[in-house]
Amino acid sequence: MYRELILRLAWSDFKLRYKNSALGFFWSLLEPLLMLVILYIVFSNLMRIQVEHYQLFLLLGIILWNFLDRGTSMSIWGIVGKPSLVQKVYFPRDILVLSTCITALMMTALEFTVFITFMAIFRVMPEISIVYFPILFIFEFLIIVGLSAALSALNVYFRDVQFIWRLIVQVGFFATPILYPITIFPENVRWIVMLNPMAQILTLTRDCTLYGIPPEPLNLTYIALSTLFVLLLGYFIFDRLEPKFAEAI
């Protein structure tokens, strides 16, 4: 019933982000590419990280992490940034969060066109294990929705949640195997890094997309359970705080 509203809001928000610059789409792609070039130069030549298809490895990591970063950072403003939609009309308020996450999804989809181009340029053919890609991607999306629900609701009451979350995202960028493979850690501490579901999703996505390795069922189960946990916790917090949105905003 609300599907149309979610999509309309997401699509109009997406268009608005690029509306006033003819090269809008181009600019949005430039950011990850620039990051890719810098990080590639630094890590491949100076730090001498030895990974097969390091450009693609890096680009996929950046795109997937950007998705989380962008989805949550935009959603923090999903409620606070739209007071009239909260105070003057009523529809279930998680629609605002969902539509923002879908806007982020559209932007990420755009970045994937670059990734596909790169794969073609470097002549990396995906193998049958690529079928796991959409599953992992959906899990990431649901984690973003869960985080966004909690963050957007908390930000209504505590406006410094946005700053705290920026710090967490910054730390996360380095604590998650984006620039480096998980194998740089000694065997006995890897499991600690891999407790982070994003570390799992990134590693497994690369394995199935670039190296033809399907994910282990155990890892998939862990991702599924942690996604469910984040989603439920996020919605629990959102539902608790939602009744007073219109007063507190």
Partner: protein, 394 residues
């Protein structure tokens, strides 16, 4: 029963210092914050049947808008329940979610979705909505390039595509020019004919009287009365007023030798009660109390009505052929209007008393008194001319 409101309470907690950051909250744990609790709605209960049109009236701050927002599910009650059957659409503000950087066409699509109108339900296509708003040539214009009047028209013609069972309206009619308000009324009348249940919050008592079957009067968050519209509006206007300032005796507004002193002036309504609020066409009596310190033969009492700075009407006992006779001691003079020909606004009154040849002013109270007139007709202007229409075809 389409709407059921049961023992509804709503209070807002307003902190003396508002904490919006986590830091302030942590620091604040050491010294507790003081909250002021304002109870805006107190134990409101009422029921609305299908197809009824209900007006909600009351002074500013009486809780009308809060009540409407709770029924719209935007605010949640502190205690009590609201039950609504069917699809409900609130018109609390027109053009919610309009994006100035999107085109007219795109905005119609988004706004329709926000108002809960699905693609199938849009009775007319988006093109027809735009045509109805008279913006055919502006389809692909960005909204920010339209005048605010055009934006309101666009919002309105989109919003009325909705097909609700219950419609909540909050002062939407207050925006826009007369022509637009007329259009609003035609639309709401159409909804009413189609059997839509309507709740209308308004200060425009004339509109409420024309439009609503029953009316709820709120006073300080309490349900004063919920009954048929005419009796509720009478109750609202003719209720005794507790606090009204007595006239101040400033020297430049009062002069005369006070041989006869005007001690007070009161307005009396159709219920024979002192009042400062009247409905047009109702009876009004101005009672002038005097105290005469001398024996004076046939003094002349006069009265003048002002609207803003316009001298509307003046008359005296002498003009009307009323001989006051020998006046001594206390008494009063009534100026009786059987059918008040004023339409709406605040009218100021001058009262005076002078000698029979008008040469000596005993007491003159210049524009010291005032009363309000509320409209219930559709006539416009300050005063009404008692006329009727006749059509002859030749």
């Amino acid at each position: 029963m389409v709407i059921e409101v049961e023992h509804l309470w709503k209070s807002f907690q307003i902190p003396h210092e508002r904490r919006t950051t986590l830091f302030e909250n942590i620091v604040g744990m050491i010294r507790p914050n003081h909250y002021e609790t304002y109870t805006v709605l107190k134990d409101i209960s009422f029921e609305v049947d299908e197809g009824e049109c209900i007006g909600i009236i009351g002074d500013n701050g009486s809780g009308k808008s809060t009540l409407l927002k709770i029924i719209a599910n935007i605010l949640r009650p502190t205690k009590g329940n609201v039950r609504i059957t069917g699809k409900m659409t609130p018109f609390l503000e027109l053009g919610v979610g309009f994006q100035s950087d999107l085109t007219v066409q795109e905005n119609v699509g988004v706004y329709a979705a926000i108002m809960g109108i699905s693609k199938r339900e849009i009775k007319n296509s988006i093109d027809e909505v735009i045509d109805f708003a008279g913006l055919t040539n502006f389809r692909d214009t960005k909204l920010k390039n339209l005048s605010s009047g055009m934006q309101v028209r666009l919002a309105f013609s989109t919003a009325i595509q909705t097909d609700p069972d219950v419609l909540l309206v909050d002062e939407v009619l207050a925006v826009g020019d007369k022509e637009f308000q007329q259009k609003c009324f035609e639309t709401f009348s159409k909804y009413k004919r189609e059997g839509v249940t309507i709740l209308l919050v308004s200060h425009d008592l004339g509109a409420v009287r024309r439009f609503c079957d029953k009316t709820l009067l709120l006073r300080n968050g309490e349900k004063e009365i919920f009954s048929d519209t005419n009796s509720v509006i009478d109750e609202y206007i003719y209720r005794p007023d507790e606090a009204r300032d007595p006239p101040t005796g400033k020297s430049d507004t009062r002069w005369g030798n006070k041989d006869i002193e005007i001690t007070d002036v009161k307005f009396i309504d159709k219920n024979k009660k002192y009042n400062d609020n009247f409905i047009s066409s109702d009876p009004l009596t101005v009672r002038i109390f005097y105290e005469s310190h001398e024996k004076i033969n046939s003094p002349v009492f006069g009265i003048i009505f002002y609207y803003q700075d316009t001298y509307c009407y003046g008359t005296t006992t002498e003009f009307k052929g009323c001989d006051t006779g020998l006046v001594y001691g206390r008494g009063y003079v009534d100026f009786i209007v059987e059918k008040l020909p004023l339409i709406a606004g605040e009218f100021e009154v001058t009262v005076a008393v002078a000698s029979s040849d008008y040469k000596t002013q005993y007491d003159w109270h210049n524009r010291l008194y005032s009363f309000n007139v509320h409209n219930q007709m559709r006539d416009l202007g300050i005063f009404s001319v008692d006329g009727s229409w006749m059509v002859v075809q030749q």
